[in-house]
Homo-oligomer: 398 residues x 2
Amino acid sequence: MAINWESKYCERANGIYGSMTRQLMHLIANPEVISFGGGLPASELFPVDQVKAITHDVLDQKGMAVLQYGTSEGYEPLRQAVVERYTQRGFDIGLENVLITSGAQQGIDLVSKLFVGKGDLIVVGDPTFLTALQTFNLFQADYLTVPVDAEGMQVERLPGILEARNVKFIYIMPNFQNPSGATLSLERRRQMMEIVRHYQVPVVEDDAYGELRYDGAHLPALKSMDPDGQVIYLGSFSKVLSPGIRVSALIAEKNLMEKLVFAKQAADLHTDNLAQHIIYEFMRRDLLDRHIARLIDFYRKRRDAMIQAMTTYLPVQVTWTTPQGGLFLWPTLPSGIDSGVLFEKAVEAKVAYVPGACYHAKGGGERSLRLNFTACSEAVIEEGIQRLATVINANQTS
Amino acid sequence: MAINWESKYCERANGIYGSMTRQLMHLIANPEVISFGGGLPASELFPVDQVKAITHDVLDQKGMAVLQYGTSEGYEPLRQAVVERYTQRGFDIGLENVLITSGAQQGIDLVSKLFVGKGDLIVVGDPTFLTALQTFNLFQADYLTVPVDAEGMQVERLPGILEARNVKFIYIMPNFQNPSGATLSLERRRQMMEIVRHYQVPVVEDDAYGELRYDGAHLPALKSMDPDGQVIYLGSFSKVLSPGIRVSALIAEKNLMEKLVFAKQAADLHTDNLAQHIIYEFMRRDLLDRHIARLIDFYRKRRDAMIQAMTTYLPVQVTWTTPQGGLFLWPTLPSGIDSGVLFEKAVEAKVAYVPGACYHAKGGGERSLRLNFTACSEAVIEEGIQRLATVINANQTS
């Protein structure tokens, strides 16, 4: 007799369901489909030869240490390199503020473990990053949403939301947000830090894409405007080096670290050592910034190619804001077209995206869609947008 | 003004406190201390050259795929290799039963996420694996304990414990248990599976050490005696290959997989790709079993050297059972000596172990201590046991 697992699950497990994007991705396994659906960096730009040389040297010189257990905090020279990198950006931090995680996603998991119980309130943008919502859902969070416009989260709405509620934290991706591509303006950054200081609310700043800026000057991270240490910053090497190598840095106030390190140990003991050494050597050999400069050149062209194709082929009723960096465009369809309903027809026409509704914690987004512009060549981008235009035109009601 | 984090933590975070072993490990950072405290494999036996050759080939042939995102389930050829390896041991499984995790510790985290809410009951051995307890504590578990003797968990006590209670699962390490070294006898394995079938209780079988058997024949895994799929099996490559490469396999009934894969995605998206490829190639090239045979030769000698030294130097009132495999010896001190109290004196005498109390969910174990015999050479083992003998002799009350 098979066991009745339902009688064994805890309440938390009821918040687990098949991810919509995972199901979508199965639909588009057909290689003939041009997929703008993933959040993938361009494979052909990965610095394979450099990784090869580094792994050779690392194993040659420190093989025994690399293959042995490491510390839960992370490889100390890597943590030190993170301190130096972010000190240059105005972070007031030391070694005691850095925890190496197995990707930024694990940072979201660890923070949730510390702060999120059933029904606890998190403030998120509307839209917001889907996989963060999945982790928060697992810990049974409830949400307060703040609209995101072309200048990012409308932070002027925060006082009304934070007043008289115990919000556990505000989750925000200030640079080239996934999915909307919006960047929080400098004025809003200042305003936000004033508000969260007044209301004593922690901020989880997810900066997965910040280094991939194609136009304009970098804006200061919220963490660099945070003298009281209330921002937990999630850096990532996934988009600027390799997402297959699972290494990120969580930067937080020292007081939080004992619990975070305990949670990290309980989660997976420590992050893969060889992966940590590879990332460290990339920084030590001064290869990382050069690689990022190369990515920016390529990705800017791809973004521009997608915008050019959208301008050329999509009906004029489709609108968008040009993102200054990151991986995504976030167009809005004409009224009367639901991007979720359109999805199956798009896949039939051999082009895929992620429907906007996936990114809304409390509903909405039916006219939006997320398009990735980094994973495909310019020619493929043009072909894919042409296919999308055909599908949209065929489904225009007017 | 610094933020009041206490007002933001959820109840779960109160179960997080500095791990006793982590604090102990800081005490013994002094390189003059001979440490039997860690659970470390022998660094000098790591197959560094083979890992070097494999990483070179893998990056040469599949570099772009290795550096790109992978699937949450894990690298499919590795999952297939796991299926083949365990099918040979009588597991009735296919690809749909295998999830690759970032170490077996992550398997414990994912299982906890599905099953363990506040106050939920888990049956554990007394003693049991410390880091599993830390993860269960984080999810606010409560415990029912079953004594462990030389033949492992006293499973005949299970009916009295399982009757009329909703136990979420039994957590057990049947082979060379950490910390006691005890192995569940064949008779008890059969008896246990009958009992858990009758009571319809899931089992989490942690088999971190099973392949490291120095005497006698391998006993069947509980998972191979599990036609109804109620055993969740945690395999590991940490002890047989490298713990710095964080890769393990979780094997479970298909019905559980959708939720487990969701939890895996929410935890860290997927396990490091290069790590997965290294483990896969070790199996594909038929290097793993040869390496294990080499480890067994070395570790058997080290176990025997520690037992020889204990027999020679320790007072006769110290007793132990010889483990047939694994990494640990678990002696009992004469009455009147508390291994926790003795610890600081031992460190002064430049030898370290882990006090037995760390491994008990509900108290006890004050006369036990865990000694690792795999990480030190035979000469160092003898010196360390001599130092330990001096400390014990100086603290004998009679």
